[in-house]
C-alpha cells in the first residue's frame, strides 16, 4: 500500500515536471498505458479473492483517477502555453501601411449636372439632349438669328467647312438653345402643334474664345417651359427656386434686367446678389446691401413668338420662357474652384481634390449639394 502511494507521488511529480506535450505523453504511457504500472496493477485485481479485491480496488481506482486528472490538467496548461507562444510568434507590426485602394472621383461638372437634374425633376422638368455639331438653322436661324443678324458675330462660332443637307453651314453649337428648338419640334410634331414642355438641356458648348476666364469648350444648361399662361413671374420663381435649392440657402435674391437675345422677347438678364469672403464670391443677400454686389448668372426671357412658330407652335395659344446658365460657373461658385481652365486639364490631383465620391449622388432628402 505504501508502495502504491509512493509510486503515485513519484508519478505526480513527474507529470508536473513534464515540459512539453510529448514528455507528458511518456508519463501517461508509463502510468496509464497498456503496460503502465497502474494498468498492470489493475490487472492484478482479477487474481485476487473477492475480499482482497474489495479492499485493493477502490484505492487503485482512486490512484488511477488522480493521475488521469493530473495528466489532463497538465495537458490543458501546456496547450495554453503553446498557443500563447504561437500568438507571440505571429505578432506583426500594424503600423506598416495597408495596401492602397484606388479612390475614384466624379468631375464637378458631372456632379452639378446631376444636381441640376435632381432639382429640376422635382419641378417636373426632364432632361433633353441634342447634337454638339449642329447646323446653322438649329443654332441660329430657328432662334431668330438669320444670316445677317449682328448677334451672330457675338457668338464667336467655330465653323466646319461642311454643309448641312439644307445647305446651311455646320458648326459647333454655341449654346444649348438648339436643343430647345429640337425639343419643341419633336413635341409639336408628336402632338400636332403643341403641348406643355418642361425641360432642361445641359451640355457642352463651344465658342472660339480663350483667356483667363473663357475656354473654347464649356458647359451650359438651357431651361424651357412652354405652356398656356406662363410669364416672366414664373421665370423668376423658377430661377429663384432653383438657386435656393442649388446653393441650399434661402437668402437668394435675383435681379432681372432687360437685355436682348434674338430668341426671347422680352429678354431678361439674371443677376444674383453676392458678397465676398476673402477672395471667394459667396452667393446670397441683396446685391445693393452693404458689402454686396450683383453678379450676372445668365440670360433668359419669354420665348420669341417667331421662334415658337418656327418649331410648330401657335404663339397665340402657347407661350413660355427659356433660360441659359453656365454650369462651370455655378459649379465654381458653389464648390470654390477658381480656375476654369483646370476643369479640362485632367490633372489627377485636381480631380481628386475637387471631385466627388461616387456615393455623393445628389438626393433631395440629403440635400443635393455634396458636403465637404
Amino acid at each position: 500500500m505504501t508502495d502504491l502511494i509512493s509510486q503515485k507521488e513519484a508519478a505526480l511529480v513527474a507529470i508536473d515536471a513534464a515540459g512539453a506535450l510529448d514528455a507528458l505523453e511518456e508519463q501517461r504511457l508509463a502510468a496509464l498505458g497498456k503496460k503502465g504500472w497502474v494498468s498492470l496493477a489493475l490487472k492484478t485485481l482479477g487474481q485476487m479473492s473477492p475480499e482482497e479485491r474489495a479492499e485493493a480496488a477502490p484505492a487503485l481506482q482512486a490512484v488511477r483517477a488522480e493521475i488521469a486528472a493530473a495528466l489532463e490538467q497538465k495537458k490543458t496548461a501546456l496547450e495554453a502555453e503553446a498557443l500563447e507562444a504561437q500568438l507571440a510568434r505571429e505578432t506583426i507590426d500594424l503600423t506598416l501601411p495597408a495596401p492602397d485602394i484606388a479612390r475614384g472621383s466624379i468631375h464637378p461638372v458631372s456632379q452639378v449636372m446631376d444636381e441640376l437634374a435632381e432639382i429640376f425633376a422635382d419641378l417636373g422638368f426632364s432632361v433633353a439632349t441634342g447634337p454638339e455639331i449642329e447646323d446653322d438653322w438649329h443654332n441660329f436661324t430657328a432662334l431668330n438669328m438669320d444670316e445677317s443678324h449682328p448677334a451672330r458675330a457675338m457668338h464667336d462660332t467655330f465653323y466646319f467647312p461642311d454643309s448641312a443637307p439644307d445647305g446651311g453651314q455646320m458648326l459647333l453649337r454655341t449654346h444649348t438653345s438648339p436643343v430647345q428648338v429640337r425639343t419643341k419640334k419633336e413635341v409639336s410634331a408628336k402632338n400636332e402643334g403643341g403641348a406643355p414642355i418642361r425641360i432642361i438641356a445641359p451640355g457642352r458648348v463651344y465658342r472660339s474664345d480663350s483667356d483667363a476666364t473663357h475656354t473654347p469648350m464649356f458647359h451650359q444648361v438651357e431651361g424651357l417651359v412652354v405652356d398656356r399662361d406662363i410669364h416672366l413671374g414664373h421665370l423668376k420663381w423658377t430661377l429663384e427656386t432653383f438657386f435656393k435649392a442649388f446653393f441650399e440657402r434661402e437668402d437668394i435674391v435675383l435681379r432681372l434686367r432687360p437685355s436682348y437675345f434674338p430668341f426671347t422677347e422680352p429678354s431678361v438678364e439674371v443677376d444674383v446678389g453676392y458678397s465676398n469672403e476673402g477672395d471667394r464670391r459667396v452667393v446670397g443677400g441683396h446685391g445693393d446691401d452693404d458689402g454686396h454686389d450683383w453678379m450676372e448668372l445668365g440670360g433668359s426671357g419669354m420665348v420669341n413668338a417667331r421662334v415658337l412658330s418656327n418649331a410648330g407652335f401657335d404663339p397665340s395659344e402657347w407661350q413660355g420662357f427659356a433660360f441659359g446658365l453656365g454650369i462651370d460657373r455655378i459649379a465654381m461658385l458653389k464648390y470654390g474652384m477658381n480656375d476654369l481652365r483646370a476643369f479640362f486639364d485632367g490633372d489627377p490631383r485636381w480631380l481628386s481634390h475637387y471631385g466627388f465620391t461616387p456615393f455623393d449622388q445628389p438626393t433631395l432628402s440629403a440635400g443635393v449639394g455634396a458636403r465637404p
Binding site: 506598416l96 495596401p99 492602397d100 484606388a102 475614384g104 472621383s105 466624379i106 468631375h107 437634374a117 425633376a121 422635382d122 419641378l123 417636373g124 432632361v127 439632349t129 447634337p131 454638339e132 455639331i133 444670316e147 445677317s148 443678324h149 449682328p150 467655330f158 465653323y159 466646319f160 467647312p161 461642311d162 443637307p165 455646320m170 457642352r204 473654347p216 469648350m217 406662363i230 410669364h231 416672366l232 413671374g233 414664373h234 423668376k236 420663381w237 435681379r255 434686367r257 432687360p258 437685355s259 436682348y260 434674338p262 422677347e265 422680352p266 429678354s267 431678361v268 407661350q319 476643369f343 479640362f344 486639364d345 485632367g346 490633372d347 489627377p348 480631380l351 471631385g355 465620391t357 461616387p358
Partner: protein
Amino acid sequence: MKFSTTWLKDHLDTNVSLQEITDALNAIGLEVEGVEDPSETLKGFTVAKVVSAQKHPDADKLQVLKVDTGDGELLQVVCGAPNARAGMKGVLGLPGAVVPSNGMELRKAAIRGVESTGMMCSARELELGEDHAGIIELPDNASVGHSFADYQGSSPIIDVAITPNRPDCMGVYGVARDLAAAGLGTLKPIAVPSFEALGPCPVEIRTDDPAGCPAFYGRVITGVENGPSPDWLQQRLKSAGQRPISLLVDLTNYLMLAYGRPAHVYDLAKLSGAVVARRAKNGEQVLALNEKTYTLDESMVVIADDKEVHDIAGIMGGENSGVSDDTTDVLLEIAYFDPARIGVTGRKLGLASDARTRFERGVDPEFLEQGLDLLTGLIVELAGGTASDVVKAGSPPSDAKVVAFNTALTAKLGGVEVPADEQRRILESLDFAVSDEWQVTCPLRRHDIEGPADLVEEVVRIHGLDKVESVALPRPEGVARPTATPAQTLERRVRRAAAAHGLNEAITWAFLPDAEAEHFAPEGATLWTLDNPISEDMKVMRPSMLPGLLMAAKRNADRGGASTRAFELGRRYFRGSDGLSDEHATLGVVLAGEKVPRGWAGGKATGFDAYDAKGVALELLSAVGAPAEKLMVMEPVADGTGTQFHPGQSATLRLGPKKVLARFGMLHPATLKAFDLDGPVAAVELFLDAIPAKKAPKGPISFARPSFTPPSLQAVTRDFAFLVPAQLPAEDLLKAIRGADKANIVAARVFDLFTGEGVPDGTKSLAIEVTLQPQDKSFKDADLKAISDKVVAAAAKLEAELRG
C-alpha cells in the same frame, strides 16, 4: 459705348446723381459696364505754382523747384522737364497719388540726394494726351491749390453695353431719350447751328443701287480750314475713347457718337466727276483709311467717282479721298444702307468699324437731313466755309410698322400689371404713336420692334422689371415623377460605377490635333475638322475618347505623377452619310503608370496589364446591366485601327459576332510613341450606345425580382488538368467543358496556367475546376465517372489531353 455725364447733360435736362443715372441705365436695359470718375483717378493731383526753379546740384538735366500748393508752405520738388520754370502753373501729384498712366503711387523720395515731395506731371502721365515733352502748363487764371479734377471740370465717364437690337442708343442722344422716358429728366431738343446754304451743289450725287443704298444725301462746303479740334470737342471724343484726329474727322465722329449717325467727309479736290452709290465690280480694289487694301465683289455697295472707289459703303472710307490739313473743299455724305448687306460685306471683308456696327444694326431713317444739317452747321461754325444746297438721291425707308396692341398682354407675358394709361405714356415717351384703338405706330429707328411682345418689353423695362413678382409654376400633385431616359440613367450609373472602381473622371477637349485624331480614326470614317480652330491643337473633333485621356496622362507623368487612372464620358464625332453629325456616347479609360507602387509587402512597383483593362470593361458593363455572361471576347475590329492597340494584347467584347460593346487591352508601342508616353498603358473604350437598352415594361412597372430558390443539394467540384495547344484560347476549352453535360455542369473556371518543365513545347497546361450541381439526388461514383468522361471527351475535340 462711353460718354461723360457732361455730354449726357447736353441732351438730358436733369439734376439726378451719378448713382441714380447708372441704376436707371441698368434698370432699362442699357447695362453699365463701368464708371470712371476722374475725381477718383485724379485724386491727389493739384493745381500748383512754381515759385522758384534752380539747377540740381548733382544732375545736369534736373531742377529743384519750390512749389506753392496754396497751403502756405512751399514744397520742394525735383523735376526733369525742360519747360519747368519759375512763375508757371502746372499739376503737382502729391505723395499718395497714383499716376493714372502707370499705376505708380507717388512717394516722398530723395532724387540724387535732394528730397522731392511729389511730381510735376506731363499730359501723358495723367492720360490726358500724348504730350510727354514737358509738364502740363496751365493758364495764369488757374487757381492754385484747387484739385486738378475740379479745375479741369472733367465729369464721370459711363461705359454702357448697348445690345445689338438698340442701335438707336448707340449715340448719347438716344441714351438720353431712354432715360427721359424712365423719368430721369427732360430730353432737350436737338440744336442745329444755323448756317446759310448758298447755291446748288456742284457735284452730281446718285444712287445706282436703290436696294443697297436707298438714300444718299450730300452737300459741298467750300473754303473750310481743317486743323485740331477745339478743347470741348477733343474732351468729348476722349471721353468716348476716341482719339481726336482733325476737326473735320472729329466732327463726323462727334455726329456718330452723339446721335448714332455715321457720316463721311471727302476731300473734294480728290474726287472726279459724279459721286455714285453703286455695286462694286468683282475684283475691284480700294485702299481703306486703315491703310489696308480690300478686294471687293459685286454683292458689296461702294461710293465711287468716275475713277475709283472711295468708300466701302457704311463701313470705311478710302484713304485716297480722306481729308487732310490741306483740305479746303469737302463733300459731305450721309446715306442709308441696307443693314443686312452691310453685315454680310463686313463679315466677308473681316472689317469692323464703328460705322458698320451702327449701319448693320440699322440707323434712324428719319435722321438724314437733320443729321446732315447738324454736321454742316458744326463745320461752318468751327471750320468756316460756305455750304451748298443739299442733294438728295433716293429716299430712305418711310413705312412705319403698325402693331395692334392689347394692353392685357403686358400682364399675360410680362407678369406685371401696368395701367393702360401708364403703358400709353411709356410708349409715347419713346416716340411710339398710340391711337385710341391701340394701334401703335413705331418710330422708324426702332428696327427691333416686330410685334406685340416687343411692346410688352418696352413697357416692362421702363416700368421696371423689379416690379415683376415671383409666381410659382403649377406643380402636379404628389411626389415628382421620374424623368430620366434609359440612356441618361445608363450614363449616370456607368459614371459612378467607374468612380467606384477607382477611376477619376476627367473632362478633356472635344477637339484634337490633327495627328492625334488621325491616329485614332477608324478607316473610312469622316471626321469633322474645324475651319477656324483656335489653335492647331484644337482642330479635329475626336473619333475616340482615348487621345484626350492619353494627353492628360502625359501631362500627369511630366508633372511626376506616378499613375493615371482616368475616365471620361463624352461623345465621339463622325460625319454621317446624311451630312449631319453622328455622335456616339462613349466612355474611355486610360490606366497608365503604376498600378501598385513599390511597397514593403509586394516589393517592386507593378504596372497595369490587359487583364486590368478587361476587368474594368466587364465591371462597368455589368454595372449598367449588360448581359456579362453572354459577352464574347473576340478579336479587335478590323477597321485599320491596328496600330492603336497591341495586336496580341487587345480584344473586343461583343454581344453576338457583330455588336461590339467595348474594346480593351494594352496600347500599341506606336501609340505610346505618338503620345510620347512611357508604357505600358492599358485602355478601354465602352460604346455606351451599343449596350442594349432595358425594355420599358408594358403596364405598371414591377420592381419584384424572381423568387430565390437555392438548390437543395450541395454542389461538388472536380479538378482536371489538360495539356492543350499553346494557341488555344482558354475560353474555348471552358465553353467546351460547360457544354459537355449541361444538365450537371454549372460552372468551369481556370485555376492554373502553366508552361515550362514537364510541359512539352507548343503546349500549355490548363487546370480547370468544374462545378457539378446534383439535381434531385446526390451523385454516385458512377455518375461522377460518367460526367468526367464527358468532360475529357469534349476537351479532346480541342486536342486537349488529360494530364496523368
